[in-house]
């Protein structure tokens, strides 16, 4: 189990703190990437504030940096973000009624907060999501600013193994989610699908394909 010291906004904030450290470091490396592409100071910080989707931003700048067109950069980002649609749909039944409120809550979804708000027995806790999301947002924007403004002092985040912290954190949340044989089998199948597909399709697609596995897994029941 994840150290589940209850649910609610405060619990979401507390449980998101280790992840926020990770996302801050990730933000620093995004700021450094933007700096290396000479995108100025304002653009990367505004981008992190309004887009707030780390991997999609990385992918988009990666395409631009490699000389790709604006449209290709957008497609790369959208493919990485496509999973949010399924994640938002999973959240909806657990939100109070009201189209606008539900949509606004869904806007705060990031991988970490969505995962932390997922109850091991199924369902989501809205207050936990909002608490975790707010910490993640601050971490991401502050990290980006640090990277753009003074990243040179921090050096390469890889040297400190920070890129290895993310898989560990995801694994730690997954730990508490493997509550049934079906969930464990589907998780294994998802990992296998990502390994098989990664060399053949653009980044982001393997994760979406893994989501489709959930559909097949239920059908087989």
């Amino acid at each position: 189990m994840v150290a589940a010291d209850g649910w609610g906004f405060g619990a979401g904030v507390r449980r998101a703190l280790p992840f926020a450290l990770g996302t801050t470091a990730f933000g620093v490396s995004f700021g450094l990437l933007a700096r290396s592409l000479h995108l100025g100071i304002a653009a990367p910080i505004v981008m992190s504030s309004v887009v707030w989707a780390g991997s999609a931003q990385f992918a988009a700048l990666g395409v631009l940096g490699a000389g790709g067109a604006a449209f290709s950069a957008l497609v790369a980002g959208v493919m990485l973000n496509a999973r949010y649609m399924a994640m938002a749909a999973a959240l909806v039944p657990w939100l109070p009624a009201g189209r606008l409120g539900r949509a606004l809550t869904a806007l705060t979804i990031v991988d970490e907060s969505w995962s932390l708000a997922a109850r091991p027995e199924g369902g989501f806790d809205r207050a936990t999501l909002l608490g975790a999301s707010s910490v993640m947002y601050v971490g991401w924007v502050v990290g980006t600013a640090l990277g753009v403004l003074g990243g040179g002092f921090l050096g390469d985040a890889r040297r400190f193994g920070l890129d290895a912290a993310f898989p560990a954190l995801y694994l730690a949340i997954a730990w508490g989610q493997l509550t049934s044989t079906r969930r464990r089998l589907l998780a294994l199948a998802a990992a296998a699908a990502v390994l098989v597909l990664t060399p053949f399709v653009p980044p982001g697609v393997p994760i979406c394909a893994a989501c489709l596995l959930a559909v097949l897994g239920i059908r087989r029941r």
Partner: protein, 110 residues
Amino acid sequence: MRLGPGATIWLVMAALALSTVALKALPPALLGDGQLPPRLRGVLDVLPPVVLSALVTSSTFASGSHLVLDARAGGLLAALLVLLVRPSPLLAAIAAAAVAAGLRAAGLAA
């Protein structure tokens, strides 16, 4: 029309922001106050472990469209061992970062 790099980044940013908002807000906007069909709900209920497992795998073994075995894999193994003993995300992350950094410092892995 050719855009300079300065204009391109703002254009990509605006499009990316709009598409992210659309992807996240579309399901709740379309569903309104309605409930999902039970079958779809069953599918979405098993989504968390599936997404997490995919994220673990891609953030450990993928580098763009290449599969790689680098220091992150050592870090993940360390995290797994920590989690078997104590289910603490923070300890798992610290162990993973320390092992990955150690492997790189020792020149044993990229």
